[in-house]
């Protein structure tokens, strides 16, 4: 059994007086994909930020062991200045890798374009390439993506899924927060959060069951 890159035991996070995460225990392992799903406000983003070391636990224990870099792409990635896409990718500690990822994600033709004039989906590709390039060590890297497929058309969405599969098989631990059930079902493990608590965890077929979906979201799962 490989050692997890992130492990949380009873993790609790309080932000601005609100309890955002409460008693969450889970782990992110190398060469595995963990999908974190849950309704709006369930604490998915806070969990990812805690995994990135950006918010300290209020209680419980959180052990971060990523040795090969941490790539993080927030839900609404932004940039204050109007860089070209090529200039934006230069902000990566591995700019060449960032450019390569951008090409593989199908956005290689946009290098000279200014990011303020790109569409939301095109801009997301640049930020994803930046995050991917920072989690590219063959082993021990952690990739944290918040809603990676939001704003993307079907072709780009597939390119992102393929890229994640490539990194996963190279040994990266991929953690995605998503509302995209299809994406969640493609992960090795799905963790369902609701109101800051872990409702279910395990292989998607056993954790993301129609009953859990009905209870958590109050809707019938599509196709069920």
């Amino acid at each position: 059994m490989t050692e997890p890159l992130v492990q949380a035991w009873g993790l609790g996070v309080t932000l601005g007086g609100s309890r955002v995460l409460d008693g969450v225990s889970l782990a992110a392992e190398p060469a595995r994909t963990l999908a974190v799903v849950g309704p709006n406000g369930a604490g998915k983003t806070t969990l990812l930020r805690a995994f990135a070391g950006l918010v300290p636990p209020s209680d419980g224990e959180l052990r971060l062991r990523a040795t090969g870099g941490t790539g993080y792409c927030p839900q609404n990635p932004s940039c204050a200045w109007d860089f070209t896409m090529g200039e934006l990718l230069m902000l990566s500690p591995r700019p060449e890798a960032a450019r390569e990822w951008c090409v593989r994600l199908g956005a290689g033709g946009l290098m000279e374009r200014r990011i303020f004039v790109l569409s939301g989906g095109e801009r997301r590709m640049a930020h994803l390439a930046l995050a991917l390039s920072n989690a590219e060590e063959p082993y021990g890297s952690l990739l944290l993506l918040d809603e990676p497929t939001a704003d993307l058309d079907a072709g780009r969405r597939q390119a992102v899924i393929d890229a994640l599969a490539t990194l996963r098989s190279a040994g990266t631990s991929v953690v995605i927060a998503t509302h995209d059930f299809e994406l969640a079902h493609s992960a090795d493990t799905a963790a369902v959060l609701a109101e800051g608590r872990l409702i279910a965890i395990g292989p998607p077929d056993s954790s993301l069951t129609p009953e859990v979906v009905r209870k958590t979201w109050g809707v019938q799962p599509s196709g069920a």
């Binding site: 792409c73 990635p77 204050a80 200045w81 860089f83 902000l91 995050a131 920072n134």
Partner: protein, 314 residues
């Protein structure tokens, strides 16, 4: 937009040209005087304007980078005002001490600017443009009021302080008063170059910047301290100048793009050229009298501010 080295070359050429005109132009026409005597007389003033402009331009680039906001200008957010207040307090309450050692006035300006930066970070950080500008408005109003009070209760220093508030201290430049603040302006500007990579990454937001190896808190503190050194030193040379810290980075960004590796040095060069030109225009273009460099800058800067504010909130 032009490539980096060409933009820098253009910046240096503009500084050289404006400085040459500054030592050549007088109220009675162009010329260096007999044996260059007039040029030698004007040289400390031109050097003071160029160095102060350099520091004010760099200070603007740093503050815009730290706040990720194109409207941040230490002249509008009270940091330069804090520097003037620090200098005014020393001039008002310990005038002998102020002039006895060359470092004391810049040091007082540095302390004032640092306190204003701390107030701005406390009340204006972590929000959008509105919060930053409102906090800056408050800090600026406070420093202006306090400077006015110092000038009022210490009549002996009133004229000196008032001239500083008008940005009219360049006229008093002598080699003895200029060398140390000028050196501090250049040193702070050179040190600021080291912050370029961090400021570029900070443009992606604190969270992403951290994962890319940047320390936002440390970067903000170093940036605020360097801006304060620049503000303290530049204020001793010229007094208070608004809008230069706004316009210089905007010109630089328009010339060479937003990367801080080019933006910081180019903002400094643009600031140096602008303030030197503004001072030369102010003292030689009007036959009926002289205008402070700060007044010329404000006449250019106020419309530019409105234009940038409209553009960045479209």
């Amino acid at each position: 937009m032009i490539r980096g080295p060409a933009a820098l070359a253009l910046g240096f050429a503009l500084v050289a040209l404006t400085t040459f005109i500054a030592v050549s132009a007088g109220s009675t026409g162009m010329g260096w005087g007999e044996g260059g005597s007039l040029a030698l007389l004007r040289a400390p003033r031109a050097a003071a304007a160029a160095c102060a402009g350099l520091a004010l331009g760099v200070g603007g680039a740093l503050q815009q980078g730290v706040f990720r906001n194109p409207l941040a200008d230490p002249g509008l957010t009270g940091v330069f005002g804090g520097a003037l207040l620090g200098a005014a307090l020393l001039l008002g309450f310990a005038p002998e001490a102020a002039w006895s050692e060359a470092w004391r006035l810049p040091a007082a300006g540095f302390v004032g600017a640092t306190l204003a930066s701390a107030a701005l970070a406390t009340f204006g950080g972590g929000g959008g443009s509105a919060r930053l500008l409102l906090a800056g408005l408050g800090v600026n109003a406070f420093t202006a009021a306090a400077t006015l009070i110092v000038a009022s209760v210490r009549p002996g220093a009133r004229e000196t302080i008032a001239n500083g508030a008008y940005g009219d201290w360049l006229g008093t430049a002598t080699p003895e008063t200029v060398w140390l603040p000028a050196l501090a302006c250049v040193a702070a500007s050179l040190a600021a170059l080291r912050l370029a990579g961090g400021l570029d990454r900070l443009s992606l937001g604190d969270d992403v910047a951290v994962t890319l190896g940047c320390d936002p808190r440390g970067l903000r503190i170093r940036s605020a301290l360097l801006t304060s050194v620049a503000a303290g030193a530049a204020t001793c040379l010229v007094g208070q100048v608004a809008f230069l810290g706004l316009i210089a980075p905007h010109l630089a960004r328009a010339l060479a793009g937003p990367s801080h590796r080019m933006l910081i040095p180019l903002s400094g060069l643009m600031g140096a050229a602008l303030l030197t030109a503004a001072d030369t225009v102010g003292r030689s273009a009007f036959t009926s009298g002289t205008l402070p460099a700060a007044a010329v800058m404000a006449a250019l800067g106020a419309p530019a501010f409105v234009w940038i504010a409209r553009k960045s909130h479209d």
